[in-house]
């Protein structure tokens, strides 16, 4: 069994105007030591997937169906069916998360050091106070923070320092899986490079699974073994990272990968995907990308394409995929 198998996960937000279909039939697996990158337009449901997995939904988040099997070697457990007090054992120690909202995951009235210590002492009650403090100092160094600043409060940190504190927190209990949601948006490229290397090192050491959500395509290329491309609540393509970058088949993936600003070469006009982002309250019928897709045909707006394995490990939901070189029209 893989470390994590997610089957047909569906979660909607209930609002006055109807359901926001944020997670709409998501399936994937994650092995030990593997990293999955998730990319997709702002608002397509990436954060919602992780919140559903961890069962940290807001009041109006309605779980609809699906399974999340977690297997750390002692047999698969469906996290969805667990009572809350059982689930708590899996958060942080089983699956930990670097939240996109760095500030929201730090408590403003406690020092940063105390918060990480508390997580360690909660999950490993045998740890002594001094051991825990030493571990926090070590984590601080690992993410490039001066351990002298352990006793400061979150508001005394810069944006990137808070982000690093949250990464330290997520690593504090030696999790089996780490979900990192835009963890490096506030970091300069040198610090970012260092932290990604450290995370990779820890991942290898603990044989940890990693889910990495980011808009930074270059970072995704660097950290992911495989990449899932999400559009309007659904995965539309999933494959190893070289395939996604070099031979994408879904027109949306192609759009996403074909143009990004660069610091070298000629300064060019940047590409945008034409049309408006989809309304998840009332998604278009058929393929949700149809109103913006250059390959769309009549069938696309009538019938929804299934997410199928077109070659080993390569999943795709599209009626008219991009032709590969050598393929006949």
């Amino acid at each position: 069994m893989p470390l994590l198998s997610v089957n047909d996960l569906v979660m909607y937000y209930k609002t006055k105007m109807g359901y926001v279909r944020a997670v709409d039939g998501i399936s994937f697996t994650l092995d030990r030591g593997e990293s999955l990158g998730i990319v997709g337009e702002s608002g397509c449901g990436k954060t919602s997937i992780s919140m559903t997995l961890l069962r940290l939904l807001p009041e109006n988040g309605e779980f609809q169906r699906g399974h999340v099997y977690f297997d750390d070697g002692s047999g698969p457990v469906d996290l969805i069916g667990l009572p809350e007090h059982e689930m708590r054992k899996y958060r942080w120690k089983g699956i930990s998360m670097v939240f996109q909202a760095a500030m929201n995951s730090l408590n403003p009235v406690y020092t940063v050091g105390d918060q990480i210590m508390e997580a360690i002492l909660n999950h490993y009650p045998d740890t002594s106070f001094d051991e825990a403090r030493a571990k926090v100092a070590e984590l601080f160094k690992l993410v490039g923070l001066d351990p002298k600043r352990m006793d400061q409060y979150p508001h005394q940190y810069s944006g990137g320092m808070k982000q690093r504190a949250v990464i330290a927190l997520a690593l504090s209990c030696d999790p089996k899986i780490i979900i990192a949601d835009e963890p490096t948006t506030a970091l300069d490229v040198i610090v970012q490079d260092r932290i990604l290397k450290e995370m990779k090192r820890i991942q290898r050491k603990l044989n940890m699974g990693m889910i990495y959500i980011s808009h930074d395509i270059a970072v995704i290329a660097e950290v992911s073994d495989k990449i899932a491309v999400m559009y309007a609540g659904k995965f539309v393509e999933l494959a190893d990272s070289v395939t996604i970058f070099k031979r994408p088949r879904h027109p949306y993936t192609f759009g996403l990968m074909s143009s990004f600003p660069s610091i070298t070469g000629e300064k060019k006009k940047l590409f945008t995907i034409p049309g408006e982002p989809p309304n998840l309250l009332n998604p278009p019928p058929g393929c949700r990308f149809a109103p913006r897709c250059p390959n769309a045909t009549k069938k696309c707006s009538e019938e929804e394409p299934n997410f199928i394995e077109i070659e080993p490990g390569h999943f795709l939901a599209c009626w008219n995929p991009i032709k590969q070189e050598g393929e006949r029209a």
Binding site: S42, S48, G160, T185, D188, H215, V219, E276
Partner: protein, 331 residues
Amino acid sequence: MNGEYILEVRNLKKYFPADRGLFGRVRHFVHAVDEVSFEIKHGESLGLVGESGCGKTTTGKVIVKLEEPTSGELFLSGENVGKYVGPRKRDYHRKVQMIFQDPYESLNPRMTIFDIIAEPLNIHGIGNLKEREERVADLLQEVGLTPPSSFMWRYPHELSGGQRQRVAIARALVLNPTFVVADEPTSMLDVSIRTGIMDLMMELRQAHDMSYLYITHDLAVARYMCERIAVMYLGKIVEISETEELLSNPLHPYTRALLTAVPVPDPEFSRGEPEIMGSVTKPIDPPPRCRFYDRCPIRTKDCETSDHPPLVEILPGHFVACYEVEKRKQG
């Protein structure tokens, strides 16, 4: 219009207390911004890049007068704004806006998206309710939160990270400000939406003769948006120049390291090893010498004993603060 510059920043300093000793006396200080000077022309965007924690946000907050500087002066269109009070201060707050770095922190959780964006209109008594609604709907449309009616009456916690970021942008732009400090405004947006927002910001700049201080870690974004880039390290500007010149001819060892470490969107490529030493940077009570000394691959004995180097014009319009670069130019 008074003179060439919309904004001039002179010898700006901001120190924060790092700890309090016995009897509440402050013994140590974080030198967040340390003698920073720059100016921005009418209609220009200046990019501000640099290490995490080097003082970029603090610089921005001082400019929008959310933080009092420890010392230094600020001029808007040639006028010293340090002593602005009452209506002049209000007017300043109308003209000068900031898009905050963390949209999870900066949006009031108890206000609807409409109220958040319309609040500045409210404060300054602009338009009636209907006009405000139209203005907000237009802005939502422009930042890609469509259809506007499905976003206006939601609360921030009902939005994704990138959606909140766009609300923060709309709020900062609602008054057609003359100067905007944009602190990582598009860090949570995908390429396509990001490009749309950057184009919008450029259009507004042309239409309203706006200027930006654009803080970002993404040098490609700085290249797209900014005529000039300033590189900051531990509270100091270490290099400043026209954008293409800076990217093709970086001179300060920190800038060079930064450019080497830029990741490339290709899974078969691994980024260069930046030439930089040491690790943790300590902005608390730094010694007077060059702030980059501890990590500098080309430092000399002179650097150790001298003060932090001044910014010197090495090439026309290209300023660098480094003794070695200066020597090499002369030698």
